[in-house]
């Protein structure tokens, strides 16, 4: 008879979010197709959406808790969590001419999350093998950034961010260099991801 006497979180939210993120990219056609999509602006949103789904469905957080945790609005959390994934799927497959009102990244992340759950792969330790490839493509940084700033209260200044994000590489550039280029204070994780992305693309 096993006795659990202390509270357990029981899950690695970061790992699961990373897995949903990766599965979503895979669903978009894998590494090869990803190159064609590289101008898409929603990869950071996809990382956010992956976190929203894991926090909601695996860690049972409320919309408000998730919003506070990720530094986004409750409405965005809700939009992600309730996105109609089938409509998004049709849109991506070209069946819909007009862009649906759904949260696109949310819909993709939901499809990925459902697939992982159905195939019972969400809990399995398999993400490690993809790390090198993700890193080689420079798309893993958003997940790493979100993982490092977890539970941090915004706004944040440069020094605080440098301390937390030290060592992360974004599209081949050291994050410390990119952090020198952005404006402060940074008000939310979403703003941080956006600013880092813009700084990285500006070169």
């Amino acid at each position: 008879m096993e006795v659990i006497a202390k509270p357990k979180g029981g899950m690695n939210v970061d790992k699961m979010a990373e897995k949903v993120f990766w599965e979503a990219i895979k669903m978009l056609g894998g590494l090869k197709r990803l190159v064609e999509y590289r101008n898409l602006t929603w990869l950071p949103s996809l990382a956010e959406a992956a976190y929203v789904l894991v926090l909601k469905n695996e860690a049972f957080k409320t919309y408000r808790e998730i919003a506070e945790y990720l530094g986004i609005t409750e409405q965005t959390v809700k939009n992600i969590a309730t996105a109609d994934e089938e409509a998004v799927k049709k849109y991506l497959e070209g069946e819909l001419e007009e862009r649906p009102k759904e949260h696109i990244a949310g819909g993709i992340a939901k499809l990925a999350y459902k697939k992982l759950k159905e195939e019972k792969r969400l809990d399995e330790q398999e993400v490690e093998m993809y790390h090198d490839e993700i890193e080689a493509l420079g798309i893993d940084w958003a997940v790493h950034v979100l993982a490092r700033i977890r539970g941090t209260h915004f706004p944040l200044n440069k020094d605080e961010l440098k301390e937390k994000l030290e060592g992360i590489v974004v599209k081949g550039k050291k994050i410390e260099e990119l952090l020198d280029k952005i404006e402060y204070p940074v008000k939310s994780p979403a703003e941080l991801l956006h600013k880092i992305k813009v700084a990285a693309e500006e070169g």
């Binding site: 006795v3 659990i4 202390k6 357990k8 860690a59 109609d84 809990d123």
Partner: protein, 286 residues
């Protein structure tokens, strides 16, 4: 976006109706109605409905924990994983109680040991006071240990000093159990001053409106001549009763039944109260 379902869409998601044995005669008191040769026939379910969250309520010392333990041993002995959240009694006492029950029921205790996972909230303030921490821990246990049944003894202990939050806490737990597809027994305490024969009470009321069904356990001390004549029991003895107060998932016997807790600590449901009175009355007359 508002999500709605056509009734047909729910067919594949609807749980099958069958019983999860409790190890007591209560298993025969839940039934379903099936059509056979053009006639509707009542068939015992063989237990509480699968995936039901049942509330067992009653004043102190009516046998609620005995019932929870008997259910746990029955399920574990059948090879199903049971998550037992003990809020009142420390885990080591629960171990002894389950061992005794297993012996009395003649089942292999090693199998019970293997299939019961205990969350000891009795000695952890955080697990008792912070529902979210408890739910996360339950999720961990259900996921890691593949539990299919949950017992919480008692859910009242989770809102002892904050009864205004009772419904909120019970709702959170109920939703969690539904989401994780568990068949569950929640024990809830009633104060002795509250109407003992009904599910109404601080604990009872909070729980009863949320859960799928309520079973009320009660006891009566024979203390007047009237009681002696009516029940055919000597003064000072205890008459225990059990009744399914309601269950929205399936049909059930709604009569009050008399039960005993045997010397070996098992619940033995004897007869409907009306029949019991008739029989005992006759014995007294003879």
């Amino acid at each position: 976006m508002t999500k709605y379902y056509e009734l047909k869409e729910l067919e594949s998601k609807a749980p099958k109706l069958f019983g999860i044995p409790t190890g007591t005669k209560l298993d025969e008191m839940f039934f379903k109605v099936e059509e056979e040769d053009g006639k509707f026939v009542k068939k015992p379910l063989g237990g509480i409905p699968y995936l039901a969250v049942m509330n067992i309520t009653g004043v102190p010392d009516t046998g609620k924990s005995v019932f929870a333990e008997q259910f746990t041993v029955t399920q574990a002995a059948h090879g199903y994983k049971v998550l037992f959240v003990t809020v009142e009694s420390p885990a080591n006492f629960l171990y002894t109680a389950l061992k005794q029950k297993a012996q009395a029921m003649g089942v292999d205790f090693s199998k019970v040991e293997q299939n019961v996972v205990v969350i000891d909230a009795s000695e952890s303030d955080e697990l008792r006071e912070n529902t979210r921490a408890l739910i996360d821990t339950m999720a961990y246990a259900i996921r890691e240990k593949k539990c299919t049944n949950v017992v919480i003894d008692s859910v009242t202990g989770l809102y002892e000093h904050k009864e205004v939050l009772a419904r909120q806490i019970v709702r959170q737990i109920f939703n969690f159990l539904k989401k994780w597809r568990q068949t569950a027994i929640l024990i809830s305490q009633k104060r002795s001053s509250q109407a003992s024969e009904s599910a109404e009470a601080a604990g009872g009321l909070a729980v009863a409106h949320i859960v799928d069904g309520t079973i009320v356990m009660d006891k009566k001390i024979i203390e007047t001549r009237w009681d002696v004549n009516l029940y055919g029991l000597p003064i000072g003895s205890v008459l225990r009763t059990i009744r399914i107060d309601g269950c929205r998932l399936t049909g059930h016997d709604s009569r009050t039944w008399v039960f005993e807790i045997t010397e070996s600590g098992l619940i033995e449901i004897i007869a409907p109260l009306s029949e019991y009175i008739k029989k005992r009355g006759r014995l007294v007359e003879e």
